[in-house]
Subunit: 334 residues, 2 copies
Amino acid sequence: MPLPYRWLTSLMVRYNGMSILIDCGEGTQVAMKKKGWSPKPIDVICFTHFHADHISGLPGLLLSMGNAERTEPLLMIGPKGLERVVNSLRVIAPDLPFEIRFHEIGSAEESIHFGRPEQGTEQVWIDIPDAPLLKDLHIEAFRVNHNVTCYGYTILLDRTGRFDVERATALGIPRKYWNRLQKGACIDAATGEEVPAAAANAASSGENAEGKEARILTPDMVLGPARRGLKVTYTTDTRPCQSIVRHAQGSDLFICEGMYAEEDKFAKAREHRHMMFSEAAALARDAAVKELWLTHYSPSLIKPETGMDEVRRIFPHAVAARDGRSVDLIFEED
Amino acid sequence: MPLPYRWLTSLMVRYNGMSILIDCGEGTQVAMKKKGWSPKPIDVICFTHFHADHISGLPGLLLSMGNAERTEPLLMIGPKGLERVVNSLRVIAPDLPFEIRFHEIGSAEESIHFGRPEQGTEQVWIDIPDAPLLKDLHIEAFRVNHNVTCYGYTILLDRTGRFDVERATALGIPRKYWNRLQKGACIDAATGEEVPAAAANAASSGENAEGKEARILTPDMVLGPARRGLKVTYTTDTRPCQSIVRHAQGSDLFICEGMYAEEDKFAKAREHRHMMFSEAAALARDAAVKELWLTHYSPSLIKPETGMDEVRRIFPHAVAARDGRSVDLIFEED
């Protein structure tokens, strides 16, 4: 239930001018404006579930994205029924200048990647050429434990290894290809042209079409081991469960519901499949995250800060988040 | 488009603990909470039209009314298509503890009354026994001029005449019936029982079922001429038109859109079927209302107050309304 100065829970992740939104309750677009953020560059909206407090702001947001003259397709990710629910809400937002694509999560856990599918993986691949920055990250959706189908999300910004000059030199990789290889391209050394990663795997030995000896140069030839990227996990509307601990493992930021702080509300939390502050803190500890933000408080919880002593005994680096909280996450290594 | 500190336009009319809402954009329920008002006693919601900024807050409001344990039916009034639009939005608010009744406006002008229909009138009658206070007022819906079907609304609180002791005494009305007659009841003098107004009209002379001479006592026998009640007119999303002047005539409060203040926006106002500040002022003057509130500003209009000198030259008693503005309207006479 939205309250003055405490609106509904939503997360906006911004990366190089591109944005991903998780949940969109009533008023989300105004929260964005208060931060000075535009809804236009949102490439993906993930929904945890379809309770009104997590999706009722969608029609207004879509219209504002349209008013901002977005034309690139928008991807929506959510539980089964997503397309039906969104199309029903669009009775008041029927005309938009951009296409909406839907990905309904088909199993309890999904690792969603962007770009052309790589062979031999069990990952879900979604190719959106208009959103090239999406290829830098991937999204894990994991089923949690609420009274309707509900998912948590982990957003991972992947990071390649450092450029290894010694190795590139030892392998005799021509210097003119270094920059493109570092940026992730696979290159046919015979022609100097880029080839798809899948083709590069298949053709790493053998001859190319013109009969010359094929030598496909791949990024791993010039890069050291992948470096630690960034990881943010978001989950609301759930009892504590092991899928959260597993997916939140080592997150730079773990945003978790804390519905109630007072221990006498435990029966209520269990009945409505929500979480106590102390339970969220235990998840943060078990997942060894770097920082915990609590959110999604019950309207009955007037001062969330008063519950934080108990939380910090279990997990010290915890914050009772308020509307508009944001942080810049920075890569650990150079 | 909602902005921080400038949410979407909505009007709540409160009377003796009962409320009527006109329009419900995103965030309306929070605006109510800021005023300290409950959504629970809303008996009627009128919609001007179905653009998202006038209805997107409905699912959340309905759920909050349900959380507040409302069980009495809720009446919605709006253009044709109302039931389809509301039911489509209810994909995220399917389970409510109260019934929703729909009245779709069937013509360009409708005078909507509450209670049992009176014979020989062209008015629309809607009987909601659970909402007895509605009988004290009626609602006029009138078509305005927008790019979709759109209505303005006038809410009239009717007021009976003063009790006329001399007349009641001269007509020999027994003193024991005075109070009930003053409150609007019709009474069969032979039995002392109340009879419906329609039956009272038909049977005002003649015999009753038991063969005694029928004498039906009616409120007009003890009341002077009807006194001036209260009148509020609300209209947004329209070009100026004569139906507004006609229905707003003499309103105690006239709430009207003022989309643009700067005269160089006139072409834009005409194209999108909206109104200039000066046009709203001219309507207020022509309708001889007591007070004008402007609202529904374009996001491009940063400081509405700067346009008010021009407005007040045309109609002096005008206000550039801001979020949360309210007034208590009081009967003119005792």
